[in-house]
Structure formats: C-alpha cells, structure tokens
C-alpha cells in the first residue's frame, strides 16, 4: 500500500502545483468573493452615506406610519409639516441641507404612487424598501376602512403554497432547501466526475505516451498504479471542491449578516435554514466518491486503450454520454422528482450520482431506493474496476492502433 501512497502523492502534488490548479481553485473564488464583497460594500457605503431624508405628507393620513416604517429599516426621516411648502423643501435639497424628500399625496392614497424629489435618483435598495413601506402603509390604511384589516392584508401579501407531505414530515423550508441542494449537488457531481475523470484519462495517457509506465509497472502492479492515480486525482478534486465549499461558506458567513443589515425584513434564521445541513452534504460526499471511482476507472481504461490525444477524444465519447444523458434527464426534473420512470432510471448505477442524489435530498423517492442505488453503484464499481483494471493492465503497454471491441474482450479475458 505504500506504493499506492507514493503514486497518489506524486499525482496529487504534481497536479496541485500547477498554475492551472491554483488559478482555478483559489484565484477564481477569491476574485468572485472580492467582487461580490466589493460591490456589496460599495452599495452599503453609498446607502449609508446620505440618509438625511425628509417626508412631506400632503394627505395627512400616511406620514407618521410611513416615517415609522422607514425608520424601522434604518433611515433617518424628518417628518416635515405640510405647511412648510414645496418651494422651501426644494431649496433645502438644492442647498444640500437634505439629500431628498419623499412626497406623499392623494395619488399615493389611491394608487400607491409617490414622489422622491432629489438631485440624484435613489438606488435600487432604497426604491424597493420605500415602495414596500408606502404600499404596505396605504394598504393597511385602506383596509382598515373595510373592517378587518389584518385578515385581508394577509390575503393580499399571502398567496403562498404550503406543501404538506403525506410521507414524512417535511417543512416548506426543508423542501426548498432540498431542491436547491439537490440541484446544486447534481451540477457539482456532473462537473466533478467529468473533469476529474478527464484528468485521470490524461494522466494515464501521458504516462503511456512518454513510456514511463514501463519502468513504473516493473516496480508496482498496474492495478495499484491505477488505484494510486485515481486516488491522487480524487484527492486533488476533494481539495479543490473543499476550497470552493469553504469559500462558499465564507460568502455565506459574510453575506448573511450583510443581508440582515440591509433587509431587516428578511428572516435570517429562515435563510440559514436554506443552507444544506450535514446530512445532504454527507450524502453528496458518498455519491461523489462512488460516482468518481466509477467514472474515473472507466476513463483510466479509455486512456490505456489510446495512444494519442485524438484517439482519446473519440474513445471517451461513450463514457461522456453516460454522464450527459442523466444530466439532461435531470434538467427536465429540476425540482427533484419528474416522470415516474426516471426514478427507476436513477437506479442505473452510472446515472445514480446525478439523478438519485437530488431525489434523495428532496425526498422524492423512498429511502430504500436510495439505499438500493448505493448498493448497485458499489457493485457496479467492483465490476467496472475489475474490467477497467484488466484493460488498463494490457493497454498501458500497447502501442499503436486502438483496439477493436473484440480485441478489448480478449484483453479482459487474457489479463
């Protein structure tokens, strides 16, 4: 096993050291966090900078409620008496005593439209917040004439479907969270299996092309070499995904308080419930490991069969199809479930990572199906590894033409 470790370490270090890896893994997320952070920071700064605002209420009915609502979300609002006059208010804006003022009039009571008078247009956040506050206030006022304001208001702002699972208990939030996690997970599985599988293929092909493999397999069995290679690339993949997940967590950590500061209306507790818990994450790891081993052993076999890049491009096509088909099927059922036969297609081991994982986290299939798919994947892995190992063993020392299917069968038999 020490030899496997030596191969693994070489594969890992040689890969992690490359500029490409560093750029893809670290620079990109850092850049993205940086950009997101910077723009968020700037917009907050901009929003915080000039909050000296005034409110003129010509209706005499809305002013106090609106001002209270705006102050609740963090704006300094000076409620100005309507006798002050609009010329005076415009002068105050022009002479920079205040930044802008909000003007509520009869039209506001009727349609919810109101004016924001200033030199500069309000930002998106401010517009949205003010609109919300004003409309809510107007609604409340008008509904209060109609009697039971509270109930009707609920009706207007409500209209929310709440899913009631007839299976196990599952809250609405859990469902949304499951959908998001399942979708993101399927995506991540698809791309990681594709990319890291391709890395394995390239690594095998390179070793074969530069003929190092003959020296190496005189010291280590091809089977161990393949294992070490797959584990090495896999560790690199886990490192990369780990860094990304870490970055995402960092964004979350920085982002959630930011959201909380800017949109007090959003329930932060609810938001953080949207993030996947340890259960779905653990399951993702299991699906990744099984799927990655399954596909990378196929890719290793393909690499061993070929002698040139061009051959490999062609030969990997069937393996790619095995990945693309479930991905397309999954896209048609983003919400997790989909057509009933797809649940059964998800049991096919090569489709399972992409199709069964989202179903599992959403709870669209019973747990015994998830369990069965894991068992089937493990069984398929053993079979695939056996076949791939044999192809690999013969293939890495073969130069020249790519074998026909018949020759491949002979390789598998004779090895």
């Amino acid at each position: 096993m020490r030899q496997v470790w030596v191969v693994l370490r070489r594969e890992y270090i040689e890969r992690v050291k490359t500029r490409g890896f560093i750029i893809a893994t670290i620079a990109m997320p850092v850049l993205m966090i940086g950009l997101i952070g910077l723009s968020a920071f700037l917009s907050i700064q901009a929003e915080r900078a000039d909050r000296d605002l005034a409110l003129v209420d010509l209706t005499g009915q809305l002013g106090e409620a609106v001002a209270a609502g705006m102050e609740a979300v963090g704006y300094d609002i000076e409620l100005v008496d309507r006798d002050v006059g609009l010329q005076e208010m415009d002068r105050r804006v022009n002479e920079d005593e205040i930044e802008a003022y909000v003007l509520l009039d009869d039209l506001t009571l009727q349609e919810g439209t109101f004016a924001y008078r200033g030199k500069e247009a309000p930002g998106i956040t401010r517009t949205a917040v003010f609109e919300k506050v004003v409309v809510e206030t107007v609604l409340e006022l008008r509904l209060s004439f109609a009697g039971s304001a509270a109930g009707l208001r609920e009706l207007l702002t409500g209209g929310r479907l709440s899913f009631e699972s007839l299976g196990e208990e599952q809250s609405e939030l859990e469902r949304v969270s499951g959908m998001a996690t399942g979708f993101a997970g399927a995506f991540l599985l698809y791309f990681t299996m594709l990319f890291y599988g391709a890395y394995v293929l390239r690594s095998v092909l390179d070793e074969k092309r530069n003929r190092v493999v003959e020296v190496v397999v005189s010291s280590i069995s091809p089977w161990r070499l393949m294992l070490g290679k797959i584990l090495g690339v896999g560790s690199m993949g886990l490192t990369q995904v780990g860094i990304w997940v870490g970055c995402a967590a960092l964004i979350g950590l920085l982002g959630v308080p930011m959201i909380a500061a800017n949109w007090p209306a959003v329930d932060v507790g609810e938001l953080s419930q949207l993030l996947p818990g340890p259960g779905p994450l653990g399951l993702l790891l299991v699906f990744f490991l099984l799927g990655y081993f399954l596909y990378s052993s196929l890719f290793a076999a393909v690499g061993a069969m070929c002698s040139t890049e061009e051959e490999a491009q062609q030969a990997q096509f069937p393996v790619m199809m095995l990945l693309i088909i479930p991905f397309i099927l999954q896209m048609t059922s983003i919400e997790g479930s989909g057509l009933p036969w797809m649940d059964w297609a998800a049991l096919f081991p090569f489709f399972s990572p992409i199709m069964m994982y989202p179903r599992a986290v959403v709870g669209a299939v019973p747990w015994w199906m998830v369990g069965t798919s894991l068992v089937l994947m493990a069984a398929a892995l053993i079979g695939t590894a056996w076949v791939a190992g044999r192809i690999y063993r013969v293939g890495i020392l073969m130069q020249g033409k790519r074998p026909t299917l018949r020759e491949l069968v002979r390789w598998i038999r004779q090895a």
């Binding site: 530069n210 003929r211 493999v213 003959e214 020296v215 005189s218 010291s219 130069q399």
Partner: protein, 313 residues
Amino acid sequence: MTEHAVHLSGVTKSFGEHTAVSDFDLEIPRGTILGLLGPNGSGKTTTIRMIMAILLPDRGTVELLGGLPDFARRNRVGYLPEERGVYEKMKVLEQLVFLGELRGMTRQVVRRQAMEWLERLGLEEWANKKVQQLSKGMQQKVQFIGTVLHDPDLLILDEPFSGLDPINQDVLESIVREQHEKGTTILFSTHLMDQAERLCERVCLISRSRKVLDGNLKALKRRERTGAVAIDFEGDDSWLARLGITNPKRVDDTYHIEADRGIEPDRLLAAAVAERVTLRRFELMEPSLHEIFVRHAGQPDPEPALGVAGGAR
C-alpha cells in the same frame, strides 16, 4: 543465493500469428555481464519484458533472482527499457525520488543517493529543473540514474547505448563496468556487436526469435576458431608461396592465412621455423562476434521485422 540471476527455460511468446520468442533457454550466472545480441526485431525486447514479467510467456518458465518474478524480486532489478521515458513535467530530483520510493527506499536515502549520482554525471545543477528542460542525452542519463539508484542486484538494460554520443557512451560503459565489479549481474541487449565484445563476459546470440548460441565469450571464440592464422614476419613472403599460398590477404604488415587454404596452423608454424623466418607475430585468429553470428544465423536481416504487437514499436 541461487546460482542464477535469471533462468529461462523453454520460454515461448507469440503475438497473434507472429512468434516473437521461441523455446528460449537462458541462464545468467550471478555476477556476470551478459550481452543479448541480435538484430532488431529478433526478440530481445520481448525476452527482456518476459524476464521483467511485463509480458507473460505463453509457455515455459521465468525465474528471476531465484524465484518467480514477483514485485519484491523485480524491485531488486534495475530496468532500463528500450523506449526511453521520463515524466517531462517533473523536476529531475523529484522524479528520481519517486522512482526510488516506488521501490521501497526511504525519502532521505533516495534523495542523498540521487544527488550523489547527479553529481557524478555532472547533472547536479539540473536537479531542480524540469526534465523537459534537459537535452535528450541528459534525460537519458537521468533515466539511467533511475535504473541504478536503488542499488539493484541485477541490471537489465535494453539497448542502453543507443542515442548517446560517444562521450556519454563511454561514461555509461564505465558505470556498467563499475557495477559489474561491485558484483551486480548485468544483462544488456544490443545490436552493436563490437560493443558487446568490449563489455561482455557472456553472450547470447538470438536471431529470428530463436537462440542461436550462448556462453562465455572467450570460450565461444576459442571454440569458434576456424584455424585462420595471423602472421607477421621479417623478410619476403616467398616461403608462403612455396607452401602453396599465393596472394595471401594482407592487413598492414600482417598476413591473414585463412583456414580454407588447407594448411593447418601447426604446419605453417613448422614451415616458418624450417625456413628460418623471423616471426614477429603468430596468432590463431579468433572470429569476431559478428563473424560468429553470421556463421550461425546467416546475415542478420538488414530491416527489422515489423508489426510485433506489444513489441517495441
């Protein structure tokens, strides 16, 4: 310690229709240096690959260092394949460390020894350069270091000298000799007969996938003497004519009297004494390896046999 470093008996290997090695027997006593000679495509590489268990024989048995060629035994072999290969993107030292560790050496030991070797071959400045920055000859040296790094009991070198300039050929030759003096058994293949003649204690000639003959080089040459004589003397060569030898072949001052003249060396010498010829040299000529080879296998094919699946190319 068994007597033989390598023992092949009745080894046969075919690739489809083509028989690459046929009923091959070979014993390499420990500590000797054996040349596996034959034209391209005669089965040298296939034989070596079977010794290294990279290929499995269809028939016959292979014994390596006294047993089956398992990984423990193979890791006591230094193997330089015919097709040169290096990890081009790795640094020189790291590559050597990798190869050493793969064969069970510890990191520290392998680092130290690799540096020593690099210094010896004048490559120490390149230790932390990527292999692809080195010239072909230097890459070959690095690969050779990878072969001897773990102090193997047996060195198997497939065409080790091809592609090297004469200076580096000499360097390599001296290292091979040195390893031999240390007691390492050496098997190398070549199609260059003169090189084998310089280096080998034993030779094994192989042609068209069959062994032609093998054995101790000196004994072989002695056995293969034809009775030809090289003779150098003062004075004119009229006495030769009196023996019936007309137009003898001359190389510089030396006359080469072929055996087919029908005069045995004893008679020639007796005649020279009788004629009071002043001899400077009288020698029973030994055939060159090339001559022996041609005698036993016919003229080697000028073109290598093609299409050996799993063979070198």
